[in-house]
């Protein structure tokens, strides 16, 4: 194991997001009363300190002896679908629910997502999509009395 280790861009992004959250919370505590501010302030500081130490060790090689292979190796992947694309599809699904309502969005998603993952047995897909959507929609609305999202489009069209 070499002394210095580069941090991948994505890992840096993760740390940036979490670190900024801690920092933002720390800043926010200035506007809070004593009681409400005490713990967030302490914890935010401690977290940032832990982060700084962790980064320090990583850059200056002091943690050399402690590094395990697990820490450095990213997951091996076959890259069927790259993760940004997979993420985009999930986000798209949620957006679609807001737009088209749960049932229609789920149907499209259940048929579309496997296609994206190179699944090509159309018969299975169609049956799968329709059956699952119907089962879940009926179970939740009829049995569990959950009001599933109806979709902005319909309410817009309704006027």
């Amino acid at each position: 194991m070499g002394g210095r280790k580069r941090i991948a861009a994505l890992e840096g992004f993760l740390l940036l997001v979490l670190g900024s959250f801690a920092l933002a919370f720390f800043v926010e505590t200035r506007e809070l009363g004593q009681t409400a501010a005490l713990f967030p302030r302490l914890v935010a500081l401690a977290s940032l300190a832990a982060l700084a130490l962790a980064l320090g060790f990583q850059f200056f090689g002091a943690a050399k002896a402690r590094q395990t292979p697990a820490e450095t190796a990213a997951l091996e992947t076959l890259d069927v679908v790259s993760w940004p694309l997979a993420l985009a599809v999930q986000v798209g699904y949620v957006a679609l629910i807001a737009l088209l309502g749960f049932s229609l969005a789920s149907l499209l998603y259940l048929i579309g997502a496997p296609l994206q993952m190179r699944y090509r047995r159309w018969g299975v897909l169609i049956a799968y999509g329709f059956l699952l959507t119907a089962a879940v929609a009926i179970a939740f609305t009829v049995l569990f009395h959950v009001r599933l999202p109806e979709g902005l489009l319909w309410s817009y069209l309704k006027g």
Partner: protein, 315 residues
């Protein structure tokens, strides 16, 4: 447009003429099993029977009920979304915690249950027998008093005791009525306030002592406990009522239809029996009386606002 025609056959136009023609939602401010929820669930089958359309209960839990209240406040006033909520916690939600709805602008449809009193309890080993004892003991060093979060009924009662009876104490808020009651039973604090239901079982087992209830009269199920008023503080009265509200400016004809259904439900023997078994005290009030009672509670809370607003520094 074609799609909309296909998906939404005539219901849109029909709902404008005949009310009610679709299921009515009862949005509950708290989780299943709570006092608000129980009041709603007890009347739901009968209300549904006399209204003629399905009545669906929805628990919209969050921010001490304020999420549900703010939600219903913004809904269209078509009579299909109703709120089941409690006073005075609703007023406290607006006045103390600054939630975005206006209690008095809600259409007050019908009050269902009431006389759900809070109480003052003390730890078993303390010598306190009356409010006066508490007041005396608290002069040297403040007592400690358990209750639930800022704005809750337990909190309002505690602040009333502080402001109007001069009992000096440090208020310790817990996450639930159970935790507060256990804190008093375990002598973690010397006294506590909160729903009679939370403290009663522990009083019965001799683990703590309930001194008084907060209502204008004694509680019907527990007549042995005096009221705070009887103990010499007639200006400390906290009554709870659970009623059904609708978004502001619900048309009068729809109010009438809803009220008629509630009146019929209240006349139903089966409903009365079910309520009696569950020891629920009914307090049927039509829109005008309900609005009046609600305004009274709201004004009390408003008057108390300076005391109720939490101290920002804590402690």
């Amino acid at each position: 447009m074609l799609v909309s025609m296909l998906l939404n056959p005539p219901t849109v136009s029909a709902q404008k003429q005949v009310y009610p023609s679709q299921p009515v939602r009862l949005v509950i401010t708290h989780a299943a099993g709570g006092t608000t929820d129980m009041a709603a669930r007890l009347i739901q089958p009968y209300f549904q029977k006399y209204l003629g359309v399905p009545v669906v209960i929805e628990n919209m839990v969050g921010a001490g009920g304020n999420i549900a209240r703010s939600f219903v406040f913004k809904q269209p006033a078509d009579g299909y979304t109703l709120l089941v909520s409690q006073q005075p916690s609703m007023s406290a939600g607006q006045i103390v915690t600054g939630a975005k709805f206006e209690v008095l602008k809600f259409t007050h449809v019908f009050n269902v249950a009431g006389k759900n009193y809070d109480c003052v309890a003390v730890a078993k080993d303390t010598p306190f027998k009356t409010i006066e004892d508490l007041k005396k003991a608290s002069q040297g060093q403040p007592l400690t008093s358990a209750g639930t979060g800022v704005g809750s009924n337990a909190y309002i009662l505690a602040m009333l005791l502080k402001a109007r009876a001069g009992v000096n104490f440090t208020y310790v808020p817990f996450n639930s009525g159970t935790e507060a009651a256990l804190a008093v039973a375990g002598a973690q604090t010397q006294m506590g306030t909160g729903a009679l239901d939370s403290y009663w079982p522990l009083h019965e087992q001799g683990r703590l002592r309930i001194l008084a209830v907060s209502g204008p009269q004694r509680d019907e199920s527990h007549p042995q406990i005096p009221t705070i008023a009887e103990l010499g503080y007639p200006n400390i009265v906290l009554d709870q009522m659970t009623g059904v509200f609708a978004p502001p400016e619900l048309p009068n004809d729809r109010i009438d239809i809803l009220v008629a259904a509630f009146r019929k439900a209240f006349a139903d023997k089966d409903y009365q029996a079910a309520a009696a078994k569950a020891k629920q005290t009914l307090q049927p009030l039509g829109p005008a009386e309900f609005q009046k009672a609600s305004r009274q509670i709201f004004e009390t809370i408003q008057e108390l606002a300076p005391v109720l607003k939490p101290d920002k520094r804590g402690r």
